[in-house]
Symmetry: C2
Subunit: 222 residues, 2 copies
């Protein structure tokens, strides 16, 4: 049995979800909320398996509510629903920690399948959104490992040189690298110089770019 909290500012919409979810035995609507603040409060109180969250709501919106629910650390998972497939919503929701994102025009069985998946710890994305998400994903997440044959130098770097490159990718100066690796600055310069030659970069800036493009540098830097 999956317990669900329905969050939507439209009473009629809530009623519809209620009807749908009660029509099958596996889901049980344990509560409703009309805005973000109420959603956060009731989630803490009722501890539902799944929070069915509308995005557009007066006051605290669904994104912010999602963020707080996820931050609270309970076991409730958030499935975001919206009429609009605006990219910003999707991004914001996923970054807020939502486990899923579906459109309200989804067929009932899709919604139920989504709730089921989210409840079991998986994630769902509406097919119509998945395409765009994947395009972006493929753009942003490049050569995960040294896959695509062409590999101008990465493989020829020694372990030490790769370490140095990562450090350069963090934006550290030669002096900082020397300090953290307990080396002389001269040595760092020698390493950096060799790295630049091997990867075909003319300066450390292009080395940073190289590092990002090849997955050596990460946004969670420093």
């Amino acid at each position: 049995m999956t317990t669900v909290l329905v969050v939507d500012d439209q009473p009629l919409q809530r009623y519809g979800f209620h009807l749908l979810l009660d029509s099958v035995p596996e889901t049980d609507v344990v509560g409703e909320a009309a805005h973000g603040a109420e959603a956060v409060r009731k989630t803490a109180e009722l501890r539902p398996d799944v929070v069915l969250m509308d995005v557009r709501m007066p006051g605290m919106d669904g994104i912010e509510a999602t963020r707080r629910i996820v931050a609270a650390g309970g076991r409730s998972r958030v499935l975001v629903l919206t009429t609009f497939d605006l990219d910003e919503y999707v991004h914001a929701a996923l970054r807020a920690g939502a486990s899923g994102f579906l459109l309200k025009d989804a067929r009932p069985e899709e919604l139920l399948a989504g709730i089921r998946a989210v409840a079991s710890g998986d994630a769902v994305i509406a097919p119509a959104l998945t395409r765009r998400l994947l395009q972006e994903y493929a753009r942003y997440v490049p050569a995960h490992r040294a896959d695509s044959a062409e590999d101008p130098g990465l493989g020829s770097l020694t372990d030490r040189e790769r370490e140095i490159l990562v450090a350069v990718g963090k934006g550290w100066t030669n002096g900082e690298i020397a300090a953290r690796f307990v080396l002389s600055e001269s040595t760092v310069k020698t390493h950096v110089g060799r790295v630049l030659a091997k990867i075909g970069a003319r300066d450390r800036i292009q080395a940073v770019i190289f590092a990002y493009d090849h997955g050596l540098a990460r946004p969670n830097a420093d």
Copy 2:
């Protein structure tokens, strides 16, 4: 009516898909292939709406076949199926241009829904994989737009300054930027200096990192 090409090296597996897809009126299996090379050939010949592609196959595997089919530019979409949810497969398949990735233990209706979605130009990912994909996505694709309140400067940049930052993110020197923007190097320096001050970077290297972290710089650089 959706036409499907079934690709799998196991005859029994192909038979199973054939049975399933023929049991519903909306799909029509127009051909089968036992390995990658045959899949590429038959896709070109039969022009199916959807290619149901197994990953593990002797000879050319499903990933390479997917890459070639997508590169060929036809309207056939590839839905990759596998028994193993290995990350490398998922990554490779998506980068190869697959429109979907499902596990073979999917329930029949899920598979059919997937085929339907892919045929209509959408994309599908098995829920079990979506979670991991999203985690990574959230890691790699940072603040897409100035969403999360904290925004040390990006919003305060003028249009010109943002242009400059993008150029810096491409690894261009001040001289190159001056040349491409038809400016004096002094002006570029002034702009760069202001950008650094606004985003809180101490040098252009950290500006490059900032640009990447905020989605201003792209792997498809230069």
